[in-house]
């Protein structure tokens, strides 16, 4: 049963606006946001261990299977899949010119057991390679690509950084060489750059062929997408956010975006990873606190509807993460591009 408390704060000085605050329940504020109340008490501190993968400066880090993850190193032009024992399973070197060119990689995912798909900003392309690096397919997307996920049905779901009306929605399905817009709705912002940032979605596939897509900036909103013949069923989801960050919810910066504004905006999904076996989503977001002069990150463990299960606060500052289900740990790359292994198996601070 939810408890509702209505507070009316009178202005104490000329020019101070009247504040009307309604606090309803543990998780959902009256404005419809899913706040994690008492975050600082609930979050589980995590001690990470530095690990060496024999590679540095990963451009992209992504979970692959229950027992593996993939690293794209742009400086070396190399894509490598690692097992959760941190040993390399296979590796390919890609080209930056020619038909199979990957320039400006934005997102990578493994496709079945045989291929790897990469979104490249150079040419705004999808590039699909086999594990020897041979070209399987390319597709000119017609929009700036943001993220890609491979569904259990072998389809690719691609999200854009929208520019004006291109594309018309926030998700495109690629299958059989064809691109199809799925009805994931855009949010509208006045400024072009803010509009592009405010509509970037990260996407991860669920085990049942559907997907979860989460806004990276400004709005703690997400979607559950179930592709089907002729389109998709799209349901809105609310993303849990630490109560410490409440003031940043839906704050929209003004262009040009300054350092000060960057430090204060909400980032509902800095990174995202999955445990498909348990149907759980792992989101990296800002905790609202400071860690050594940088925004501290927290990992939110949720179910497929983004209902919070646990919150973790690793002792390193990072933006890139892949969850390793069998190890119940996350491999992260810190702000200096060094790798760490962070156990994420406790449910609450008592564990």
């Amino acid at each position: 049963m939810r408890k509702s408390i209505l507070l009316l704060a009178l202005p104490v000085a000329v020019g101070v606006p009247i504040l009307l605050v309604a606090c309803a329940g543990d998780d959902v504020a009256a404005a419809g946001h899913r706040l994690i109340r008492g975050f600082e008490d609930r979050a589980v501190p995590v001690t990470c261990q530095a690990v060496d993968l024999g590679t540095e400066a990963p451009e992209l880090l992504r979970g692959a299977s229950d027992t593996s993850f993939v690293v794209l190193n742009a400086a070396e032009r190399r894509i490598t899949e690692y097992g959760d024992d941190l040993a390399a399973l296979w590796s390919l070197e890609y080209e930056e010119t020619g038909p199979a060119a990957i320039e400006g990689p934005e997102s990578v995912t493994l496709l079945a057991d045989t291929a790897v798909a990469v979104l490249a900003r150079g040419g705004n392309r999808l590039v699909v390679l086999d594990r020897a690096g041979a070209l399987i397919a390319t597709e000119a997307l017609g929009f700036i690509p943001a993220a890609v996920a491979a569904t259990s049905n072998g389809e690719l779901l691609i999200t854009p950084m929208p520019l004006g009306d291109m594309p018309g929605t926030l998700m495109v399905r690629y299958r059989g060489g064809e691109l199809e817009e799925l009805p994931v709705p855009k949010r509208s912002y006045v400024d072009m750059t803010v509009n592009a940032l405010g509509n970037i979605l990260l996407v991860e596939a669920l085990a049942d062929g559907g997907a979860v897509a989460v806004h990276q900036f400004f709005a703690p909103r997400a979607f559950h997408v179930v592709p089907h013949i002729g389109g998709a069923t799209v349901s809105p989801l609310r993303v849990p956010t630490p109560d410490v960050t409440a003031a940043a919810i839906d704050v929209v910066p003004r262009a040009p975006i300054t350092d000060d504004q960057f430090d204060r905006i909400l980032t509902p999904a800095v990174a995202m990873s999955m445990d498909r076996g348990r149907d759980e989503v792992y989101l990296v977001t800002r905790s609202g606190r400071d860690l050594g002069g940088q925004p501290e990150r927290t990992v939110l463990r949720t179910d497929r509807r983004l209902e919070l299960i646990a919150a973790y606060v690793p002792d390193v500052s990072f933006r890139k993460m892949a969850f390793l289900p069998r190890r119940r740990a996350a491999i992260v790359a810190d702000d200096f591009d060094r790798f760490h292994l962070c156990p994420l198996n406790a449910i609450d601070r008592a564990d």
Partner: protein, 67 residues
């Protein structure tokens, strides 16, 4: 006094040359974007539009990497 100056100088140098993670430099993306747009000023019509889109693409990629 000399010791105080030496300590202060050392502290200042430590802060100045300490490696800074990129998260504090989101504004650098904006500055680079503005410079890129300035660099396209001598292009005309469709060429300028495409160049500006390329600038935006670089900017968005920069912001995503830093946040």
């Amino acid at each position: 006094m000399r010791k105080l100056i030496a300590v202060f100088t050392l502290a200042l140098a430590t802060v100045a040359f300490a490696p800074r993670p990129a998260a504090a430099q989101g504004g650098d993306c904006t500055r680079a974007y503005n410079q890129c747009l300035n660099d396209t000023w001598d292009l005309k019509g469709f060429q300028q539009t495409m160049a500006d889109i390329e600038c935006l693409s670089e900017y968005l990629g920069c912001v995503r990497r830093l946040l």
